[in-house]
Symmetry: C2
């Protein structure tokens, strides 16, 4: 079982919604992929989650964990998840706002490619791959020599793991093994979430390079512009955006 | 057969790439959907087309016509289309730059929802539905009374068809019927492409309102930010973004 991004999901204290078909997916024998999306309520939220769901619907055996940051889940998003046909868990959690939220925003901005499933599904411990448009570069990538990651081309390579949150997956067993140590995650400052998280459980030597030895871009860290809205027409039906 | 957006595809004078499996799709008996995407080469092109392809892969019997504006198709995009499994036609065409390009850029920025297929596939002549974030509004929409479109909530309702290019589909038979008249399409000024196009072949009375009588948002006209890129690291492998 593989995870894109870890959040502290043990401590949810709010509404929790599970997809109706979780049971169906248990018997398949390919490893389950968990994707964690930390989202937040805003104008483009449903557009962004629809786009992600389009990609995730193409991936077999994926479980989507969607987390709202401010203690409140939305019926609008719940309906979207229900109708997507994707196995999901949806809940809200009070958080220390900056770190988890920043991580979540970044993750949700990423364009997931179904090809990614081929890259991350069979992760033994930690796998990594290039991500376009992250770290204010055309791409950040592990540099691979003879099948091993030897260094990184990335923002701030003084970080032990200079990897964007969309650029790695871990086998979920790693989480169980190191679980108590992960409780300290919340105090990281911006840009250090990934490295602090990974430093607790992995070494650079553990990295399995993916995407043809890190020679292919399969993930883009794009951002959606906030829409410009000039005026509100009160003489129209209220539609849920 | 239904079309999202018409372009002057008869006059292509450049490379033309067809998907290998066009023949396979002929025998199905549900109406074929054509989607025309006018794209252009830039940093986020593959990210955007990947996202669109994720949505289109979920739609049965869709034919994707992808047009480059400047006389040059790209191997990068051709590979993307080939590996998507979607039936496609890919070609480049010299165009009068502004109108067709603007129309194309707008279209490609739109988040397509597979639910849209249910809305547009059985279009008799012209169907329309709400689009979020277009016309500098939260949404533009036809206003429906007793199953008929009576007016619009949109930018510049002095236009006969104040509809975003992502907000309508026509039955492709309309194109054959009025074909000679469509040759004048290129001189429209910005914001008038849709109305000038539709005025040549349809009346407002023809509009079949979709998306539950225009009460649901299934399409969002979002824009992707141009990535900020600070520096080029020359000491890394060159990856195709």
């Amino acid at each position: 079982m593989t995870l894109g991004l870890q959040l502290d999901i043990q401590k949810y204290d709010c509404n929790l919604v599970l997809s109706p078909k979780i049971a169906n997916s248990i018997q398949d024998d390919i490893p389950l992929i968990y994707v964690v999306t930390a989202t937040y309520q805003r104008l483009v939220q449903r557009a962004e989650l629809t786009r992600l769901s389009n990609a995730f619907r193409l991936v077999k055996r994926l479980h989507w964990i969607v987390v709202e940051p401010d203690g409140q889940i939305s019926l609008n998003i719940q309906k979207l998840l229900n109708s997507s046909g994707i196995n999901f868990t949806y809940f809200a959690q009070e958080t220390n706002p900056s770190d988890q939220k920043n991580a979540g925003i970044g993750w949700i901005r990423t364009n997931h490619n179904p090809a990614v499933q081929a890259v991350l599904r069979y992760t033994k411990k930690l796998s990594a791959w290039p991500v376009a448009f992250s770290g204010r570069r055309k791409y950040e990538t592990p540099i691979v020599e003879n099948g091993k990651v030897v260094r990184f081309s990335a923002w701030n390579t003084h970080r032990k793991f200079p990897i964007d949150m969309a650029g790695f997956a871990i086998n979920v067993k790693v989480l169980w093994k190191y679980h108590p140590r992960f409780t300290g995650m919340k105090d990281f400052h911006n840009g250090f979430e990934e490295t602090h998280f990974l430093e607790q459980c992995c070494t650079v030597d553990d990295i399995e390079p993916r995407a043809d030895n890190c020679t292919k871009i399969l993930v883009w860290h794009t951002k959606t512009k906030k829409p410009t809205i000039d005026k509100i027409d009160h003489n129209v039906p209220k539609l849920e955006v």
